[in-house]
């Protein structure tokens, strides 16, 4: 996606924006891996909880549930690896992938999160500028990471009971009592899927809104890696570092 398409020329009175490479290849690959895995997991998971495809009586070895479960398990492993890789990037990745993008440690970022919130309750016309993650967005993503980790933990707890006794994954049986028994694990795992769907919905809608209000190319940035940032902001960022 070229820079020209991503943003339109600034109108008078609007800040001049310059492209900044914010999302490196690792962040982008993990982003889409998590996205596509989640779609597959949600569909296969929904089938597992409520098998909606009828299987004919005389079908020859259909093994439908068996196959869907295997797809769910393998996709889950890719999903888990992607989430863990993203957590590793929080410590070794680019400045825009670091953990302090999610958990605000500076006063400036806390203020920025507050300003961002104002945008959502109509107290501001545009959200505050940010080069990497918007401060509020980062906080929401921190919560999303917790949800993902819970989904992974409940998933492993469920899997631990169906894997063979000699499997190393059987140790996750130890998690089951903490969630209140296997049926509660099942319920939690299912409920958390809906929480994750809510996260995705608000994320997609908000990204589109930000892109159209600020013309900073946020939507395309997850493909190109470039985001369009005001010169003032870039200068301020440089001062901070």
């Amino acid at each position: 996606m070229s820079a020209e398409n991503a943003v339109r020329a600034p109108v008078a009175g609007e800040a001049v924006r310059v492209p900044v490479y914010v999302w490196d290849i690792w962040v982008r690959v993990i982003h889409w891996a998590v996205f596509f895995c989640f779609i597959i997991l949600a569909i296969t998971g929904s089938y597992i909880s409520h098998p909606f495809i009828p299987v004919a009586r005389d079908a020859y070895e259909p093994f439908l549930m068996g196959t869907v479960r295997v797809v769910h398990f393998y996709t889950a492993m890719v999903f888990d690896l992607a989430v863990f890789a993203r957590i590793v990037l929080m410590f070794v990745g680019s400045p825009y992938a670091r953990w302090d993008q999610f958990i605000p440690v500076t006063k400036r970022r806390w203020n920025s999160a507050l300003e961002s919130l104002k945008f959502y309750v109509f107290l501001r016309r545009t959200p505050p500028e940010a080069i990497g993650h918007d401060a509020l967005d980062g906080l929401i993503f921190a919560a999303r990471f917790l949800v993902d980790l819970l989904i992974i933990a409940t998933g492993f707890a469920l899997y631990s009971k169906i894997t063979s006794y000699s499997s190393p994954l059987a140790i996750f049986q130890g998690l089951i009592p903490y969630f209140g028994g296997l049926q509660s694990v099942r319920w939690l795992h299912h409920m958390l899927m809906w929480v994750a769907i809510l996260f995705i919905l608000q994320h997609v809608i908000r990204v589109i809104v930000l892109s159209t209000v600020k013309h900073d190319g946020t939507v395309e940035s997850m493909l190109s890696g470039y985001r369009y940032v005001t010169k003032e902001d870039l200068a301020e960022e440089a001062r901070d570092r």
């Binding site: 109108v11 009175g13 009586r57 079908a59 439908l64 549930m65 049926q183 899927m193 809906w194 809104v209």
Partner: protein, 370 residues
């Protein structure tokens, strides 16, 4: 424990049980306990030489369902001897003595065989209203449990009520009922044989294990013997092939139900319940719930009345939306609300920023995109 090693042989002879029947019984016990071949071969000899344990059977907040199950132990000739002829010194439902006489028998056993006898407990222990909900001979269940289980060599909690509180402890638990391990935390060797009721074959097998090996079998996290609770119902179920194939009963009495399809969509809790029902079965090995077309309700798991209900639904409801609420409908509703809220916010802000652009740059419309 009575040091008489000839009692079993005598009893078998007196009841006219053939050696063949005895060997068959030993074979089935070895199968339930999943003993290796060499151990199974030694079982008849070991059982014949075993000392006779003294047993007291306590009933608290219960329906006597476990007693019923126990009295209907199959292969009655041998099991009867193992079960009925173990010195059951006290059992309210089946003992001849009553009133003071019965209580005296219990006191005597506790005093005489302290630290040696086995206490089998059926039913939960109510602690509300100072124990008034269940008192025997003027003594609260909690006090009896403390005294009898506290001095026993081992306590076997039969049924889900004694093991985990069961029905009496289900929400809202009006009598503040608790399980036997909660009631007597100091009791030695508590073994839970949960299920509603406990399977007589598992009670018998547990006693046979104890009598022959002189120790207790390995237990799981809930103190249940692994031989009976080491596997999910779902992993031993004869309908499992239909589950894997995606063939499910959709409604009671439909074609799938008549063909013996999997009961998963009718709320079967087999995938989350650990027990050996599909293998040992019930009523003299005749059948078991899923085998005759009813989903497992998960009776062997802690708090199953609260956690597994609604019994005919896959998942429980959603807090705030009721037990019967469908989690997916609530999820779709929440997704619609979130979508509507954020889309509306975005549109309003976009319209406002448009207006602003128009104010600051009247010539905006003529501007060309590069």
């Amino acid at each position: 424990m009575i040091k008489d090693t000839q009692w079993l042989a005598r009893e078998l002879k007196a009841h006219g049980v053939s050696r063949n029947d005895f060997l068959k019984f030993c074979g089935s016990m070895a199968a339930i306990l999943a003993l290796p071949e060499w151990a199974a071969a030694k079982l008849p000899e070991a059982l014949a030489a075993a000392a006779k344990p003294t047993v007291v059977w306590l009933e608290f907040q219960d329906c006597a369902g476990n007693t019923e199950s126990f009295l209907r132990a199959w292969r009655p000739t041998v099991a009867e001897i193992i079960l009925d002829a173990v010195s059951v010194d006290y059992h309210e439902t089946i003992m001849a003595a009553a009133g003071t006489q019965a209580t005296a028998a219990l006191d005597q056993t506790v005093a005489k065989h302290s630290g040696e006898y086995l206490a089998i407990v059926e039913g939960a222990v109510p602690t509300g209203a100072g124990g008034a909900y269940c008192a025997i001979g003027g003594k609260a269940a909690l006090d009896i449990a403390r005294e009898v289980c506290g001095n026993a060599a081992a306590t076997i909690a039969v049924g889900t009520c004694a093991s985990f509180g069961g029905l009496p402890a289900a929400r809202p638990n009006p009598t503040a009922a608790i399980s036997i391990s909660e009631a007597v935390p100091a009791a030695a060797n508590v073994i839970n044989l949960s299920a509603c009721p406990a399977n007589a074959d598992n009670i018998t097998a547990l006693l046979v294990y104890y009598m022959t090996m002189k120790r207790w079998p390995p237990l799981d996290d809930h103190r249940r013997p692994v031989f009976a609770y080491g596997q999910l119902i779902h992993d031993g179920c004869e309908r499992r092939a239909h589950f894997d194939n995606g063939q499910y009963v959709e409604a009671w009495g439909d074609e799938g139900h008549r063909l013996g399809y999997c009961l998963y969509k009718m709320g079967c809790k087999g995938p989350v319940t650990s027990h050996n029902c599909p293998i040992v079965k019930w009523n003299e090995g005749t059948n078991w719930p899923v085998g005759c077309g009813h989903p497992c309700v998960g009776c062997a798991e802690p708090q199953f009345w609260d956690k597994m209900s609604p019994f005919y639904k896959h998942l429980t409801g959603v807090p705030g939306f009721g037990m019967a609420a469908n989690i997916d409908k609530v999820g779709v509703g929440a997704a619609a609300v979130v979508t509507a809220a954020f889309v509306a916010q975005g549109i309003v802000q976009k319209v406002r920023s448009r207006k602003e652009e128009n104010v600051t740059t009247p010539s905006h419309e003529e501007e060309k995109r590069p």
